[in-house]
Symmetry: D4
Subunit: 253 residues, 8 copies
């Protein structure tokens, strides 16, 4: 609970505008709306600089629709819905304006295409099979108002491919490095650029890949500074964090 | 290799200022100095916005001294030396101006105390036993020109302690969350602030802690957005990354 | 074997009411009934304060029917059947009075709705996707004679949601904290209440969640006192244990 | 923060007894005392029914002394200090009245020997090598006002030993089952008694024991109902939880 | 290669009955028959006391048929075929005399029902869901000439069930203990009997069972002597080994 | 509890020779002697065919002495004491007749050298560094009345060494295969002999050996039939089990 | 980037044949062709002695077709396509000359059957279920110009089978040892031959095989010298490496 | 056993030069010499192209001396002794001509400095802390007759360091890539050269490095072809294998 909000409430109590009981009630009910199956947090953009995101996995199309309707009723735009099933995507597309991309399964409801941050975010990947995670990251960042440059299929086993794209990487304000298998891409990129690198291990691979564990450990142990890691296959989380960083020190936050 | 440097070299070749053979040579030897036991990278501050750091672990006092001497000869200041042994700390302290702190075992050679970034970095920890890692993070960030606020011993099992420090957290530009055991601190802090949160799992604990694995997995699985993770006990890496982010969009980068 | 029962048997032998051979036989066959595919334990309520539960997984509808029939023939009520398949649920519903809930797949045969314990058990969850495990816990507790309060979707990344429900938590006699991903909910709740907290890790999540391992380790390493852990997704076990604790020191045990 | 406390503060503000600013301040600073190296939580007994415990590991003797002095100044008794080093034990013993036991390394400062709960807690162990963990559990429970019965060296490979102690187990209100190696004790005991069983895996053993992992997994997978698990070697946690349960529904809580 | 066979070959060479080249040839080709897709080992019964077994998994019905035909052409009986698919079972049943049991998926071709060993082997299990593995063990042992006693659903959480069957267990010459989840059955049985106990962990269970790892570790760490372990779900291996032991010191080996 | 003993007790009760209370008492106290720190099980040889063994690890010299004295007072011989410290070995040697071997740290008190089983047990090892575990196995078997043949340093990377000892292996009644690193020895030996093979993984090795895990998994996955596995480094367990098997069907059991 | 190529470029710049800007461009775009979904590396045969391979997994039939067309347009032959789906194999077979084998799912487009290396590569396997991985290795090696000898179903549990093929193994220039389960084959073969042994663990097996981990660890811990390991199921990688080694010191490299 | 040797023996038997019994004897005792504590394999150089190596770990100085004396008596030179203790190194140095290097703890007894292979082996490492493993590899290769080029401290986080040494790498016949932490070096080097790359993960690092597991998994998952892996820290194994490969197709094998 923010100090400022508490202070205002207390001042209202002192001025007789609120009874103490009402103030307690307000402290509790204000920030979110209880739909029964979910609590929609309308104050999140205030508190965290980005509105609530809808995790589509494990929600029925009807539940997603309900949350969207509640958010749209408060004029939300660029609402991100992740990991939608085919059924959910179809259901929502009939009821809302949505830009849906099937590989990443990420929809953007009421998209505006607005750019609010300076510079751009580069999304780099080692192989074509990581593309679903890449697009989840790239589309999340775009929906949050960032320009995005995609640099795909530049794995470290063919360094010349990566070096040919060096200027794109070196001018980015944040780099998202997506890689499965051995995850070396994060270290190599981390050694080449001077901006934050967000590493996303993917579960793509086979054998001793162990569902992304290999890439995850590799990235955590990166000897390059400036690299941090998000969960396996968590393209959304990387795009979200990259957007927060890209909005720092400029832009229409 | 940076495009600009290659272009300049090629222009010198075209103008006859360099032979092709000399250009090739220069492309190779320029960026670093080979001490035999280590290659000192004098161009790193240019390339990466921060000069090379000396990992003290596994280096003899004499080797550290040699690298420091090479760096100081090029007017480097605020040189970070991590994980120094008692013997190394003593040896270096006799030969260089060093601010050494024994808990984190981190020395800053030729410290200037200069602040070059706007805002501050908050270092939050769950318990007193994580303090060595916290200090490694805090001192790294300070040596790189950041103001640092320390918020220690505010574990999630006593939420009121954490909430009492909420204003310090909410005004930070970057938060470093250091926690062992269950690592829940990163999620709770991540849900309260709107800036990037860098989570550092520590190996502190016992039982099913498994050398920090428990906190690491917990942090990677954080349901809060805006959180990324560095290696177990890697206070240095967290401080370094926080500094890069804090310097974005302002300050004397 | 209980001392008291042995003593009585021995006294019957001494008094000539039983031959030694009959006593040995009785010691063996008495407590359970062998259906061939299962041994139904009719004395369990005596010995353990709660009658035997039927684990539906891996049993045919006919086997479940057989066990139920055997139990009902001895006037059992509120018989819990866990993890029923659709086929089993349908088969049993046609032959017995059953309250079946499809999300948790838990049926209560011959439900009475009787409340036998003082106070109530709170079931808290971090997200909507944990609801199946929550309901398994809640319905188990209810079938065993407890009042249950559900507090869902109050994950630690949105602390204000949890704090708004604080009074419900603080007046509970036992809290069951259900969470996947990072499992921090158990620690935060454990620090807020003064009653026993039973933590249930769930396998919900992705990436480095590793089928619930992440939440499990997090909960085991909880820095809050008063927290213990049951197996991943074991809602039934949590509800059962909570009921035993809630019946202590009061109620119609 | 408790609803009741907030209400009272708000009423004081309404009545003019407090300014809003003072109320905010009070909400923050009240519950704990900041010693620099630790925040002592004097309200914990109010909030959680048991006062704060001092984890001795990783604290200097001087720090422990400081916390103890702060607590004693508010008339605390039966203060538990866990995992004390020899040096700390000696230092504290010279300055405070302490009952210290070297195997468990657990000290009780200002011990009163008061019994405040009905019934007793049984601590059962499989072998003599688990005794340190057993004593940590037993002494914690005793310091919190419980009678404790010790049933040691009754591993499941010699069932008759365990069965001989059955009456002690069956009359306990809570059982703490401590076992290393295969951890089967928890399941067997769980099947015999009708009270809550708290299982404590220990790191005692060798080979595929993997530092207690074997016993931990075994206990989590217990097929007996009514069993929950705490962290490896966490005798303190088991004793603490057992005390909370034993105080339910009776005693001088 | 056995010394005796080499000696005989050498004597034949010395006596001129074989040329050296023929002897080398014979040493190579004698013991097995190469079907292209498999090498059938006709001498195995001589060398190892039991004829070759056909692992059905990963073999086509035609391949199994081919191996069976080759073996039957040399008068083999009681040929064990493990893990047969439905398709394979049907195909073979049409072409050979086979006793097939669908739960364990184990077929016995040309079954004789002969008993060649003294005493009997007891197969004990903790729950009904382990029955497929139990039957694989029991039927393997039976096909190799052993009497088998089945003692199912006697898990350690209901000790009285197990104790009621104690006489069956104590008179066995070998006990096979099959259990999933916590695997405690092996330790308890191991402490009750004086014959070898072969423990078979099963992958049955959920949560922190990890595909049988929990039971495996538990059984390896058994504190009872006389217990050894085979691979997870390896009922065949347990039955085979039990048969070898049961044939020792008696019977028509 | 054995059926026969219960029957006899019941008959004594019927005949008035015992009161029921006395019978219950006798059922409990008879089989073991409580020394305070340990329960000595004097009936184990009756129940399990081998007397109790003293695990030296974690016991003081005085405790070992106490147990030995209790056992010797009942005329026990060939008492095995495992994993003795230097201090314990010296202390016991001064008070009892003991054959102690320092590599395996296994002592035999009141050794008789008696051979009670037919045939011999072969102990095979892959390298010289496994010798401590080998000797623990060999000496345990010897103390229990078996002849033992040692076949050391015959790792599978030099097959000719192993084949040269083939006749020793093929005439054994039980083979104990001890190996660290890749543990292949068990499979190779298992394919050569027709008797039971007990595999003992050792923690000897480095790198991806992970404290014996590599050898353990390798042995569990052995494609040879007739192989079972005991815990890592558990030479005692292997020797004990081998003795039980070797005594089957012959000898002076 | 190769020194020689850079030198030539620089000389062209000096001679005025290229502007510096053109040279930079050429350094970047030369080695590969960007198809949008993939970057085809036409210089790989120059740089690495073998042309690029097409990993079929995760690529659409149309993408594979596009890459093949690009490569064939530059006269590539013997192009390897791994892990093709049925759909892809059919699609490509209609448009290109392809030798496809369904077990290994590996196609060779424009096959020439050319042999360019001296000697042969032996592919050895422990069981028939490893055959898919074996064929991937064997066909890769064949497509790269090597003679291949297949030695299948010679697992270490039947040593005589393996020894009968000893001459084939001992005359190979490289041996690829493919094995699942316990992976002992690599050690045994490694001890018999004097050429490099490439070990391929397979995921074939069950129980504590853990998806190939058991064989992987076993092979890494091999006590035989001259053995190295590739990823689980990576037949292609083994065949590729074997070809490189077989081409050394002879042949038409 | 080699076919040729058997043939010769059989011919001697046929010719009456040997009795069959003598032939059997000779087949057994010939290849090695039994010192009691070790079997010295004098034929290994014949069979495997390199003489036996002495693993110093776990051997007493006297045992090493004994083996060396046996080998030297048959004119062995360049005998490699690995992982010697200080005590062993000193003891051996007094009795044999030895070139000992303390970092790698590897001694070469009777060193000749002979070069027998064409080309050279490059040993590449990511950091100075891997140097012990590097030197074990480099010195092993040198003792086996190879020229060795060392390229140290060229980790992938500073690509320009690595690229500057590209010509050394590209002209090597075999590259040994040694790296701890994230192990990316193997992939990057594997993508640059066309010769076999032997990857050696090291246990150097901290945090989620898990004793080398991170580097091991990373290297196994390398997306570069031509890379294989040896055990963690196994510099000797890498040097040995590299020597075998380097001797192929040329040199004085």
């Amino acid at each position: 609970m923010e100090k400022q909000q508490i202070l205002e409430l207390l001042q209202q109590v002192r001025d007789g505008a609120l009874t103490p009981e009402e103030a307690v009630l307000q402290m509790k009910i204000q920030p979110f709306q209880d739909l029964g199956y979910a609590m929609v947090d309308h104050h999140r953009r205030l508190r965290q600089g980005a509105q609530e995101v809808i995790y589509g996995a494990g929600k029925t199309p009807q539940q997603i629709d309900g949350i969207l309707t509640a958010m749209e009723s408060r004029d939300a735009t660029d609402i991100i819905v992740t990991r939608m099933s085919d059924e959910a995507a179809e259901y929502i597309a009939q009821r809302h304006t949505m830009d849906f991309e099937p590989l990443s399964r990420l929809g953007i409801v009421k998209p505006t295409g607005r750019i609010t941050a300076p510079g751009y975010i580069a999304v780099v990947s080692g192989g074509t099979s990581d593309m679903a995670v890449c697009e989840e990251a790239a589309r999340t960042a775009a929906a949050m108002g960032n320009r995005v440059e995609r640099v795909y299929d530049v794995g470290v086993a063919g360094l010349h491919r990566l070096l040919a794209k060096l200027d794109v990487l070196m001018q980015a304000r944040v780099v998202i490095a997506v890689a499965g298998m051995e995850g070396a891409l994060a270290s190599v990129v981390g050694g080449l650029v001077d901006c934050p690198v967000i590493a996303v291990p993917t579960s793509v691979g086979y054998g001793a890949n162990f569902g992304g564990l290999s890439a995850l450990l590799s990235m955590l142990n990166s000897c390059a500074s400036g690299v941090s890691v998000v969960n396996i296959d968590n393209g959304f989380g990387a795009g979200y964090l990259a957007s927060i960083i890209n909005h720092m020190g400029g832009g229409n936050e």
